[in-house]
């Protein structure tokens, strides 16, 4: 075997190893989802969705947690979407290369890496205590909004960056002002990308547990929130609570709730990917 053949062989071996590694994560994910499906799918019925929590596993449902999650999702969207997109637009379209923009940039990149539980501590001190919101849906949503703000900003910037400069040039050259150009050309053209980022960020918010525990979301709340100041629970906390119960019935419940939670996250991710592909095609 000469050196070229040897190199070719190594090349082939690495390729196989690469495929193995790539599939490793996915296979595990599949095994795991399969396992959860086996554990939980039988437990899912309409009653499981509409039942309140109960001491008996068979009678216990996810109604309050699901409603809590939906409340959190809506409030978080309302709070984080406008701020995040506005900040992204500012950074990409307005900010000049100066100290402030450098500071903003490094700051956002850092925020994106702050552990979620630290946001919980921030929320606990600022929203729950100083602003006296208590362990309310609003306090939870505010906390999660701050958590996903950097993600939305970064995604907005990426989407805006992908809009060809030529479109902007054309608009300016016709006498459009900066904001007219942004509003009429840049935002419509980057809408898909922004949407993708926002949905991904929200799907992250739906799955967050730790910051809400710190903020004080409750384990046993047998009613759905009816206003932003109500106490609440969310799906991940309900799951956490059930996981830590050793009776098999509750493990089954946890698995069933996980299926629902995964369904929500995967659907959100799917929608996001769909938008991304559609939007990328537009600019190719």
């Amino acid at each position: 075997m000469n050196s070229i053949q040897k190199n070719r062989l190594k090349d082939q071996l690495f390729k196989i190893w690469g495929i193995a590694c790539t599939l490793f994560g996915l296979v595990l994910l599949t095994v795991f989802i399969g396992d959860i499906l086996i554990d939980g799918i039988r437990r899912i019925d309409w009653a499981f969705i509409t039942d309140l929590p109960s001491r008996k596993a068979e009678k216990s449902g996810i109604y309050t947690a699901l409603m809590g999650s939906i409340w959190i999702l809506i409030l978080t969207t309302i709070i984080s979407f406008p701020i995040g997109v506005a900040a992204g637009v500012y950074l990409e379209e307005y900010s000049k290369k100066n100290r402030l923009s450098a500071l903003l940039e490094i700051n956002i990149s850092n925020l994106a890496g702050v552990p979620s539980i630290i946001y919980g501590l921030l929320g606990l001190e600022v929203f729950v205590r100083i602003m006296s919101l208590g362990a309310s849906v609003l306090a939870g949503a505010l906390t999660l909004s701050l958590l996903i703000l950097p993600i939305i900003i970064v995604a907005t910037r990426e989407a805006i960056k992908a809009v060809p400069k030529s479109i902007r040039d054309a608009s300016y050259a016709l006498g459009a002002s900066k904001w007219q150009t942004i509003w009429n050309q840049v935002l419509p053209a980057s809408g898909g990308g922004i949407l993708t980022g926002v949905i991904l960020a929200l799907s992250r918010a739906v799955g967050e547990t730790a910051p809400l525990i710190v903020v004080g979301a409750l384990a046993y709340v047998p009613f759905a929130p009816s206003n932003p100041m109500d106490e609440f629970s969310v799906l991940p906390i309900q799951i956490f609570n059930w996981i830590s119960r050793p009776q098999h019935g509750f493990i089954e419940n946890a698995a069933a709730a996980i299926i629902i939670l995964l369904l929500i996250t995967f659907v959100m991710n799917g929608i996001a990917v769909y938008f991304r592909n559609k939007w990328q095609k537009k600019w190719k």
Binding site: C21, S116, R129, K178, L200, G207, V214, L262, N269
Partner: protein
């Protein structure tokens, strides 16, 4: 008129951007103020040298080391899983895989990072630990090994995606120059592409470490809740994050020492991740300049 409108818009957009500064300021001051109060009661020397962490008991010790060791141990295990696998994936996807395969596999892999962490906790506790106990008889029900492994699986996409982006960003003409001289893909990958993308790869590793250190639910569920200064991966440990969760599950009254301990633990965690994030940002900035 128009000028004023433009100005108003610009300023309101700017204020949205400034919210992020306020958030950082909020985080730092909240952590610092409470931690300052904490350290007015507890000597900072003890905090870093005492080997016991029992702030909730009558015999109180405030040594962060057991929590730190728990955090680092689980993170180390996670990185040991995520690094080789993630790097191989990134090289495979960017240099070998057909584009269509890459396009389907990448979002699927990213799904790994999209799964809520509480679900991974479930996986670690209910599936992985019992599975590992078949091979490791002394393995406790709570341990850093399965928590670390599962966390590693979760952060694979962090390593693979960012590294892959970096590999992908290596100018095509460099690769072509190498192919053009008769190099195989493997040679091109390791001799040209990986070195050229090294800063991006390093960034991905740092971010993955930072993510592992800050991860909460997996360790809170599966690694245990006992602060213990050990490197033994088979026994229960407690991480900084798990401690915060543990305390938060009970009543934390503002002004109490319990309340302050979670902020003291929090600021330790924050400092670690802040350093890592800043480092990765610096490196990233540097290599972006190189290719732009």
């Amino acid at each position: 008129m128009r000028k004023i409108k433009e100005l108003v818009i610009e300023k309101s957009l700017l204020s949205s951007a400034l919210v992020t500064i306020a958030v950082t300021f909020g985080i730092i001051s909240v952590l610092a103020i409470e931690a300052f109060r904490f350290f007015s009661e507890v000597s900072i020397f003890d905090f870093f040298t005492d080997t016991q962490w029992t702030p909730l008991f009558t015999d109180k010790h405030y040594g962060i080391l057991p929590l730190l060791s728990g955090t680092l141990l689980t993170s180390f295990i996670a990185i040991s899983v995520a690094l080789p696998v993630g790097l191989t994936i990134s090289i495979y996807l960017s240099e070998y895989a057909p584009r269509s395969f890459r396009k389907t596999i990448k979002p699927l892999l990213e799904l790994l990072a999209a799964v809520p962490t509480v679900v991974y906790g479930f996986f670690a506790l209910i599936v992985v630990t019992p599975f590992l106990q078949q091979f490791i008889p002394g393995l406790s029900g709570f341990n850093s090994l399965s928590a670390g492994i599962v966390m590693g699986i979760m952060i694979i996409p962090f390593v693979s995606s960012i590294s892959e982006d970096a590999l992908h960003a290596v100018p095509k003409d460099l690769k072509e120059a190498s192919y053009g001289m008769g190099a195989t893909k493997l040679q091109t990958a390791f001799k040209v592409v990986v070195p050229a993308a090294s800063s991006g790869i390093i960034v991905s590793i740092i971010l993955a470490i930072s993510r592992a250190i800050g991860e909460t639910m997996i360790v809170a569920i599966a690694a245990g809740q006992q602060p213990r200064l050990t490197l033994d991966p088979t026994v229960p440990v407690e991480t900084i994050t798990a401690f915060i969760v543990q305390v938060s599950l009970g009543d934390v009254q503002h002004g109490s020492i319990e309340y302050r301990t979670i902020f003291a633990a929090g600021i330790t965690l924050f400092v670690f991740t802040f350093l890592l994030n800043t480092l990765s940002y610096r490196i990233r900035k540097k290599y972006q300049e190189k290719y732009e």
